[in-house]
Symmetry: C2
Subunit: 176 residues, 2 copies
């Protein structure tokens, strides 16, 4: 099996989570396989080192799992981007529309430096709403997005179309 | 500076977060220092390898940051223990009392195997309530706790006293 097949074999489909009609991609079985996790980290590193990131911004919470591994492999800072109310220090905020209502993402005001090239990471790309919010926060602090990196992409939701205006380099290891 | 001093120098104290009277230890400045993160991971690995863990259970969300790094360094499975409603598959649940009300932690029903030795990790040990909940979930599945590992311990809250009944091996790199 190649890496994509190995990853797909470990992803568990959970029906109707977090709500009816959604077929959730559960990557927790994959986290129980340390050799596969090492292979995934290697591949994510190889695909992103050429983007020359100065730091990696990772999205709460599933984006934290491989985020620190990539940050360490590239020896760059790890910046958490979190849901409203979770970060303790002063934050910049960005709100975006969901199907019903809005969501707000936050980052510490001293997270990025002007001119830095930032890689955005999450476990899964769906519509791209959260990744776009992350990109807006990065722009707000005078840094730029040098790439997006996901384990999984739900291609039928066209997330890539929504985020490529921030940066055309969008990497994912597994597509559905 | 030794490692403890280096860590303390990077921890930001934030007043009145998440509520009045709490002096929050913000480790996000430390995550921006990849060399220090590597040194911390080395130290956590050296202090836990002798406990011979079969897997590491990490507490949402700040426990995810170093959790995956330790799991990879020891080449063992990473098991997330999360707040109620975050894990997609069937779960075991454990509720515990807080100052006001209760909190519930969950783990997937297939997280641990009977007889496994499990290391519990979080960024910070306060009263030990969440770490105890994690220990109860591990026992519920027929596994045992082989150690606790924290970056920070708030010694004045006596958390160590509350968790050592599960296992006397409690490691922390920085104390207050």
């Amino acid at each position: 099996m190649n890496l994509t097949e190995k990853i797909k074999a470990k992803i568990r489909e959970v029906k109707d989570f977090p709500k009816d009609g959604i077929q959730f991609k559960d990557i927790t079985p994959l986290l129980k396989d340390p050799v596969l996790c090492a292979d995934i980290t290697d591949e994510l590193m190889h695909q992103t080192i050429k983007l020359k990131p100065d730091a990696i911004a990772c999205l709460e919470s599933r984006g934290f799992w491989f985020g620190m591994l990539i940050a360490q492999r590239l020896q760059i800072p790890f910046i958490p981007i979190r849901k409203l109310g979770k970060l303790p220090y002063e934050t910049d905020k960005y709100s975006y529309s969901l199907e019903y209502g809005t969501a707000t993402m936050e980052v510490h005001t001293d997270a990025f430096k002007k001119g830095q090239r930032i890689l955005i990471h999450d476990d899964l790309l769906a519509t791209g709403g959260t990744a776009s919010a992350a990109a807006e926060l990065i722009k707000m602090q005078g840094a730029s997005v040098c790439g997006f990196i996901f384990l999984i992409e739900l291609s039928f939701l066209n997330g890539k179309e929504n985020i490529k205006k921030y940066c055309p380099d969008v990497v994912s290891l597994v597509g559905y």
